[in-house]
Amino acid sequence: MSNWWRSNQAIGLYLVLIIGALFAYIWFQPWTHRIMRDGFLLGMMPMMGLGLMLLCAAAMLADPLRRETPEPLQDARPSDAWLPVVMLGGVALCFWAMARLGFVLAAPPFLLAFMLWFGLRPVRLAILLAIVVPAVVFAFFTTLGVRLPRGVLAGFF
């Protein structure tokens, strides 16, 4: 029972609650019940998608695999939830910096920080790769005619 919260049945329950809330939200939107000129309900397809999701989530509560725990969740830790969020935050920060400083200046600190965070050693190898890789990527895309953010270095390229 202690591991029930990781089981398919528990996942089904979380999904029923989330999708149910979304279903209710969509149901109470004015556009959902708007009838188009061809007689079709504007909200019908989104409701069909949500209905299918809700049905499947509800099926997970009772189907033969309900007691199974998905393999990746068997040894899941709380950090599994927030570490990816931190990673995504880092990537978002990198993109935010890219838009202001340009790709060439924003990518190396991101690459260096992430390579070191993931455990790449020696540090000098990480530094070398963090400088060389963005330069190569920038040259490659520029050659192909794809404009990467230039930021403060716009005048130089």
């Binding site: 189907d63 990816p84 993109f95 455990g119 790449l120």
Partner: protein, 514 residues
């Protein structure tokens, strides 16, 4: 055959640019496949924005070359380190790695290469012969039949994509919901935008595929690196054997001795590849299992080139046929076919049976590229396979951040809209959660692509039948037959637990292999 269109196709394909991008595609694909954890879908998702900058044949060359190369490339690390580059090559590990341990890694890789190319070419020829005929039939379909055909495809994908029926169908439901965000495809009225104006145009395909296929996988691998659960590579020095000139190669007689296993692979792979939802992994394990049962004297599973031939022929024979549902019906049957379909859409060509008459030159060009891709695969595989074997040793600590940056560039480069990057990150997190709870991603992406077509056909059928739902849904015998088939698939899959049985094929072989 439209001779003029064929000549046009030849002129389009045999250009320096198209040949260059085909070679680049295969070159990248084999390398990508050789790196454990990176799949053909990830590679194509990352290359999709780059394909905008190319003409149609260049884009097809790049993506199809990448796909063909990646499916073969997976066998390189399976043979060298017992770590398949992608699940498609897992069946190759049993015999391939045993041969490497015996110092016959070179022979194993060459067997994988030749059987892959042979099976791929044979199945491509089947596609070229079969797809136009099916497309001709599909042209007779009205909106009701097309609607039910899409429902059948979604049902097959949802039920066969994983071992848990409910999760497969749930993924299809998410795709259908996401596909309805933005203006509706008939009246162009905004809906499901959560009050956000920037969602009026809907979710763009590029951030969706990069987020779901590439970013989610990188989050997964990043987490694995942080938890240090990655097992160390066991045979670092074995790659040296592959480079050594003294290492045993593959004779022509040995290659010919595998014809039965390759035949099984071609048959199984072509059939499985054309069905929506199954894919290369199932084909590889099925043909491996059949060959093992049929020829016990060949000692498949104990380090035999015949086992490699069966598995590799099986997975590569799915490459061409996976495009059949896309070309004949406009419905992608796999994630990779969906991505190639997306590339066509982004080039202004909607995959459908009408493509055979409207863009015959593109169809012929695609067929030529399918065949040429095999020669490119053979040449690049022969020259660089042993170099690529080292790529499998590039640490994840280097690869994961680089691919994250590439994902950002890909999402941004497509339209130059920063919102796409944040959308990609959000969808990456959704994909990561789906992976964690065992929900397959392929039905989501394919249903997302089909959703507008589904709605268009439903509304067209309703208009033709003056709002009568009965007539719109069940107005033809074929429509009723297809609807019945969809229900039958659902019932049989649930009653016989088909998804679970298919997933077990690999697990059972795993146990036997050990």
């Amino acid at each position: 055959m439209q001779i003029e269109a064929f000549y046009d196709a030849l002129a389009l394909v045999f250009t320096v640019q198209t040949m260059f991008w085909l070679l680049i595609g295969v070159f990248l694909g084999v390398g990508l496949g050789a790196i454990p954890g990176l799949t053909a879908s990830t590679g194509i998702a990352l290359m999709l924005p780059l394909s905008f900058t190319l003409d149609i044949t260049g884009a097809l060359g790049l993506l199809i070359g990448l796909y063909k190369g990646a499916v073969f490339g997976g066998s390189i690390s399976a043979i060298s380190f017992a770590t398949p580059g992608a699940p498609d090559s897992a069946a190759t590990v049993y015999d391939g790695y045993k041969l490497t341990k015996k110092g016959k890694g070179r022979k194993a890789i060459l067997t994988a290469l030749y059987s892959s190319v042979t099976a791929d070419t044979a199945s491509d020829i089947v596609v070229i012969l079969v797809a136009p005929t099916i497309a001709l039939l599909a042209l007779q379909f009205g909106p009701t039949e097309r609607l039910w055909l899409m429902v059948v495809a979604i049902t097959l994908l949802g039920t066969l994509s994983g071992r848990h029926l409910a999760k497969g169908m749930l993924s299809a439901g998410i795709g259908l919901f996401l596909g309805t965000i933005g203006a509706d495809p008939v009246s162009n009225v905004a809906r499901n935008t959560f009050g956000q104006d920037w969602l009026r145009d809907g979710i763009h395909l590029v951030p969706l595929v990069i987020g779901i296929f590439a970013m989610s996988q990188m989050l997964d691998q990043g987490l694995e690196l942080l938890r240090k659960t990655r097992k160390g590579q066991q045979v670092e020095k074995s790659t040296k054997d592959l480079f050594g000139k003294s290492s045993e190669g593959l004779t022509f007689r040995e290659y010919l001795s595998c014809w039965r296993e390759m035949g099984i692979g071609i048959g199984v792979g072509t059939f499985v590849g054309a069905l929506p939802g199954l894919g290369a992994t199932v084909a590889a394990f099925m043909s491996y299992g059949i060959a093992k049962q049929a020829f016990p004297e060949k000692k498949i599973g104990e380090g035999s080139i015949h086992g490699i031939a069966a598995a590799e022929a099986g997975n590569n024979a799915t490459v061409g046929p996976t495009l059949v549902p896309l070309l004949a019906f406009g419905i992608p049957g796999s994630a990779t076919a969906a991505l190639i379909g997306a590339a066509l859409i982004l080039q202004g060509i909607t995959p459908s049976p009408r493509m055979f008459s409207l863009h015959a030159e593109v169809i012929y060009a695609l067929f030529i590229i399918l065949i040429l891709g095999n020669f490119a695969n053979l040449g690049i595989g022969r020259m660089f396979a042993f170099v690529y074997a080292r790529l499998g040793q590039v640490p994840g600590e280097v690869l994961v951040p680089i691919i994250m940056v590439m994902a950002v560039i890909g999402a941004f480069a497509a339209r130059g809209d920063p919102a796409d990057v944040y959308m990609m990150l959000g969808l990456g997190f959704l994909g990561f959660l789906m992976r964690r709870v065992g929900i397959p991603e392929a039905p989501l992406v394919i249903t997302f692509l089909i959703a507008p077509l589904l709605e268009e056909n439903l509304r067209r059928a309703l208009l033709i039948n003056r709002g009568d739902w009965g007539g719109a849904l069940f107005g033809s015998a074929l429509g009723i037959g297809l609807a019945g088939f969809a229900v039958l698939v659902l019932v049989i899959t649930f009653r016989m637990n088909v998804g679970n049985r298919l997933a077990q094929i690999g697990h059972e072989e795993d146990k036997n292999g050990k």
